[in-house]
């Protein structure tokens, strides 16, 4: 038996290399992307597809016909990390989706009969266009792209996930938010018949699950709405049929199975903040310098880990997305607004 020992300051050379490549690549891609917009969209896809292959899985996942059709034209998107993605079987069996149970394997086991089609999303609040929309009509105008993002959980583990979806900002603009729209509030389905843990008496969570973003955060290029992973329709346990992905924040901000999007003037009260505001704040930006009251956030375990190696990596500020998002918080005390 070999037990590998790594000190806290030791960084593997592979990590350093991938970081450098990651930052350079983003600048290049950004320049290419801007050029491509001027010349027409197809070039963006050609340039990007030369960059890397799409992820795929042979897991038996399928969505409604309209989604399957859209998945056929999936293209690699911007901002993807070159780090290799966590294998699909772990992405789909190690989940925090407390509506289906608190153990990591509960969501995969308890969500198999969860009905996600038909699905409606209500858009409400400070916007010109509001109402209840079929999911198909929500997704229809957008070309689906794949974004490989790091996902950092507040529990100090992380994964790399190839999401399939579209820009949150593109969707929000369509509803023409007015000048009172300072925040966006999201809500998960409340359906105790389908979500067994919503019936639990011993939970500190007040369902439905609510999350929120400041409007400028929501309009940031990185904020993403995902309808799939690994080139396929979203598994139920990962937040089907539509979920948020905010890669620079702890995972609990990326709300699953969204049924309502509301533009609000005041900061919404979010679920974890209501449950325990000392431990979970509204902003919840990934930050190695601000510890959780019960554990350190300085490093994370990149899953899958093996029995004899925990695969520790240093946690990066804003989960490594500082170049895109640090400006959003430039005059803020991140210790106070954790």
């Amino acid at each position: 038996m070999l037990i590998k020992h790594r000190g806290p300051g030791d960084v593997r050379s592979s990590e350093i290399t991938s970081e450098t490549v990651f930052y350079k690549r983003r600048q290049i891609l950004k320049a290419m992307g801007l050029g491509a917009v001027a010349l027409g969209a197809p070039l963006t896809h050609a340039a990007a597809s030369g960059e890397r292959e799409l992820y795929s899985t042979n897991a038996p996942l399928s969505g409604p016909a309209w989604l399957e059709e859209k998945l056929n034209t999936l293209t690699p998107g911007q901002y993807s990390t070159r780090e290799s993605a966590t294998p699909f079987e772990y992405v789909s069996t190690y989940n925090n989706f407390y509506e289906f149970g608190t153990a990591k394997t509960d969501p995969a086991e308890n969500s198999q009969d969860f009905v996600t089609d038909p699905w409606k999303v209500e858009v409400a609040g400070e916007a010109e266009l509001t109402g209840r929309f079929n999911l198909e009509d929500i997704v229809n105008p957008y070309a689906l792209e794949e974004r490989v993002y790091r996902l950092r959980c507040v529990e100090a583990w992380s994964m790399v996930v190839p999401w399939v979806g579209f820009s949150l900002a593109d969707l929000l603009k369509r509803f023409k938010p007015n000048s009172n729209a300072k925040y966006v509030r999201f809500e998960t389905l409340y359906d105790p018949k389908q979500m067994p843990a919503q019936r639990s008496r011993f939970t500190t969570i007040d369902y439905p699950y609510v999350e929120g973003l400041r409007i400028d955060e929501a309009m940031n290029d990185l904020a993403f709405l995902a309808v799939g992973v690994y080139g396929k329709a979203m598994p139920n346990q990962n937040g089907a049929p539509i979920r948020l992905v905010v890669p620079w924040k702890y995972g609990f901000k990326s709300i699953k199975s969204i049924v309502k999007i509301e533009f609000t003037e005041h900061r919404p009260k979010t679920t974890w903040e209501m449950s325990n505001s000392r431990e979970y704040g509204f902003y919840a930006n990934v930050n190695p310098e601000v510890d959780h009251p019960r554990w350190s956030q300085a490093r994370e375990r990149r899953l899958p880990a093996s029995i004899f190696s925990q695969n520790y990596v240093e946690t990066l500020k804003f989960n490594g997305y500082a170049p895109q998002v640090a400006h959003l918080y430039k005059d803020m005390d991140l210790r106070k607004y954790y």
Binding site: H5, P8, Y94, Y98, K104, S200, H292, W295, S296, S306
Partner: protein, 208 residues
Amino acid sequence: MFKFSVLKFLAFLLCLAPLGYSIYQVYQLQTGGPHVLGADPAKELVLLQGEWTIRFLLLTLLITPLRRLTGWNQLQKVRRMLGLFTFTYASLHLLSYLFLLLELDFSNLGADILKRPYITVGFTAYLFLVPLALTSNNVAMRHLRNRWAVLHRLVYGVAILAVVHVTWLARSSYSEAIAYGVVVAILLVSRVFKDKLSLFRGAFKRPV
């Protein structure tokens, strides 16, 4: 010297079963069945050993009230074994944490203890178990006489610390902590009313 007891032998095998199953899982994982323990196998192993520790602890504490209730005195024969298995699983829980999760990186132990109070509580409970395990033999019992029973009341403290440990770990759901807490409370209360328990004996048919 040793009298062979079928009850004890069967109990011994049953007590080994969870450990055997964990060894089998690790064997599978290391020989090509990579998904046996999930994406986070070391943590899963640590948690499993912890769960078995608390289950064995509760079983150990159940013996005396059950004996008083049913009058089945043979049960007393397995109490020491259950106690020692509690200590065994607690040791495996601690060792797997130190070797697998901490990776023996003791520079992080200080931070872990300060940041994660449940680790301190769990470790305290373990320290309480050590003298109990050491004095579980006949020689120590004879030597300590009356003081033995007093010393072994530490086990109640261990049970309470174990429940605190589990409660402090929870993020949102307290079902597990409440379940263990209720069982511990019942077992402790049953000690207070120990004389009353035998009154219910009529309800149980005594094995011949």
